[in-house]
Symmetry: D3
């Protein structure tokens, strides 16, 4: 089968990502912490791809609220808590450091998944996607739209509220809320 | 298999679109005429979905340059001309009139494909996608990014150039360029 | 009392709009038809101003779906249907033709109310507001944000759905939905 | 009087903000330093609301140029300098730390005032407003548009110019300019 | 002299536009009617280029308020009215039909001048500029920013006001205002 | 010759920048490091102006990857490497600290050159340009559009890739790439 052989003139070389008939995608992020908005994107992407790798950026430039292990652990519990078992089974959680396209190659992913919430998100996502195409023409970025009720949500807003003792239970899974509350109490 | 049973609280009812393990998507548009930008999106989407229905809007509000049959015919030839045979085989061309979500249901598609070129595209696409989710919660919109070299292209720009006798060969497939030239000569 | 006497250097002459301690605002639009998004803005503005004039543009450039009388009538019923009686009492419905600032002056309004849904709305609203300030420095524009669940709604989308026989009951008041269904059946 | 009893289905619970017939609004910010743009918004908002609380964020994340007391003091003088006495009388200056909605509740405010200058402002304001609605459905955000001549102004630009010895007299009140000049000379 | 020979890899072939040491630019538009915003751009561009051709689009798709001759005539009078004689001498007015790049070539112009007012202008200008570069790599687009006080102005707004008998004297030159008033009176 | 005497009412005092018939422009930036996008803008601006000063900001707030001397040196080599000798001759490299308009005055420049890549760039550029006009009405900002193939490029992206050992040869001149590779190896 030579499904990815195609005319080079009209679009880049898209020759990765569907090995053995399996479509694999990577969803990279800091997830500091994961929100219901991220989980919404995971659920949407898991409908499209046969395997979805949630790739947690290690040691992000800004000091994370939760350590690398904690962030991965919290995502695992959140996925179990909110996704159906057969969907959750297709989602794995990995850590990565470095360029997203390198992580994609490492996990055999032909696609990068990104969520879009608002116009301000969009242009930097567009730039990042063009940039990743230049670095790795065979890996394509696929965008999903966050549910309207999570359009205002962001990890930094969640941290801001938690820092002031606000209630974040409608914004992040229980496992995350507990950690945030403990962190705020510890001060 | 109950792959689409999932937690209702966190995201809408996403229960359509993967019947018998096949993912089916619809790519709706006026395609008046189809450009290399559209074909780029078709090639990208055909990597992700098992079947892609290019759905040509009949009788668009604005009088089309080409009639319904002509537009479908030109797309068929353009796909044969630019996509590899095994990719082209997974793409079908259909005509539709009415709401996109109705066309999606009619063809058993669980996904709507849209191309994003620029920020100005984005917000109306976002609104349309939210609106389609409200009409049909089980059908999701998936966005692909047009290749940078086609980011400036639009059907209306192509028609504008052709109208003034400009050269559109780098923008649309040969079959389209011929029709446009004939129309300009006649018109 | 000379509440509006103030320093001219730092801001325009804001000397209208609070006669006898009453704040009066005008909410202009085509309302063709009125949606739950418009009603949401009316409810929000009616909390702020003592009197709110919903000003229905007569003979908009684009042929309206409903005639001038019908649009005003449908708004009246929608307001009664969705707002509390004491709020509804502060809202009046008027027809106007011409410049918004003229209508504002005619009704003794010192404020123009506008709803903001999305970024694409915003810039044209900003231009219109600057323009109205130039025409009438004493009348200011005040913006309210539409509820998130109506952010995707617009009169033209509603008409589009109704035209194809789609269900618009969650988008417009019952009185409007009936008219749209009758029009679609007739048309 | 039960002015705020209303239909819950169509818009959030808007039951705060008009106690005893008085409308109270809060205008939160770092005001580091206050500019003529901020004062323009204060003047506009003071026309609409019976009482306006200018709420100065204590200890903003970024080290402020001026301390908490200084910023509040400078605002007080600027308001006296630029607003008419009867308007200035309705404006009070308070300090706050934490969430804006908590400060609003503390001061009995049913409204949050925000200024809009440009498109780039707008989306983050929209997100913040949706977020505040979720935290406090009874408190609404009302937007005013900065006068065109201050559309380019921001506190950070003012600090940038002052740092290099540029003239900021047309951008901030004299009291602020003096402080900035003293700080630049000192430092 | 081989001033335009340069490295082709890093930027397009920019070999037109500076013949005999003269830089020539074209400023295309419908100018229906010309506003102070357009005149502001003309004055700015005339500082940069040795010759500036104001190119008036004949028979624009939308029926113009003023005929082709009238628009050119009104621009001529407006330029004489507002620009210094030595600047006005470098500006010529021509009519064109068809593609802007063809008009540029016809007049020996190496540059296309465009005015930017706001974000909403910007993206379509960017697309048009990329598109013109593709059609004519040797002709570059240069952007000037309209003065802040004209940022809200547009020909269509001016026509809207004039249609309703509003005063447009601060927005367009006297010669234009007279024509608009006569047209409104007639009809 | 009194080329810059003109009507003050319609546009600012534009009386600088064309001394002795020479047009001089300044292109300010951190250039940390210079990319092919910057060089593209330099080549475009050098076609328009008789002399172009590339002004390298000393000691930018964020710690630069390369020191002041190194950044200037790398730009010099990049210009020699990519521009034709007769174009390169018209371009000089200077260092500056402080306000851009002061640097412009110091070098006798009547114009500030800025590159536009995308919508997100645009609004902050617009604000900066209005601001500079206020500080120095006689100095105008002229915008050029980066070539489409560099639209995704930014200095910070380049540094990000280099930090992770990625290949930046298609994004920056060889001289820059060597420095970045050495820094990454050392770092």
């Amino acid at each position: 089968m030579q499904r990815d052989h195609r005319n080079q003139r009209d679009h880049g070389k898209l020759d990765e990502g569907r090995e053995h008939g399996m479509s694999v995608a990577i969803y990279p992020g800091s997830f500091d912490p994961i929100t219901y908005g991220h989980l919404d994107i995971i659920a949407r992407a898991a409908r499209v791809f046969d395997r979805l790798v949630v790739a947690v950026l290690e040691n992000p430039r800004k000091t994370p609220l939760l350590g690398d292990d904690d962030r991965a652990d919290v995502i695992r519990r959140a996925i179990e808590e909110t996704l159906a078992p057969d969907v959750a089974r297709r989602v794995s959680i990995e850590r990565f450091d470095g360029l997203t396209v390198e992580a994609a190659r490492h996990h055999g992913a032909g696609f990068i998944v990104r969520g879009l919430r608002a116009v301000s998100d969009f242009e930097s996502e567009l730039q990042m996607a063009h940039f990743n195409r230049k670095l790795a023409p065979g890996i394509d970025t696929v965008f999903f739209m966050t549910a309207l009720e999570y359009a205002y949500l962001s990890s930094s807003l969640v941290k801001e509220i938690a820092r002031f003792g606000g209630d974040v239970r409608g914004m992040v899974p229980a496992a995350v809320a507990e950690r945030l509350e403990a962190a705020a109490a510890a001060g």
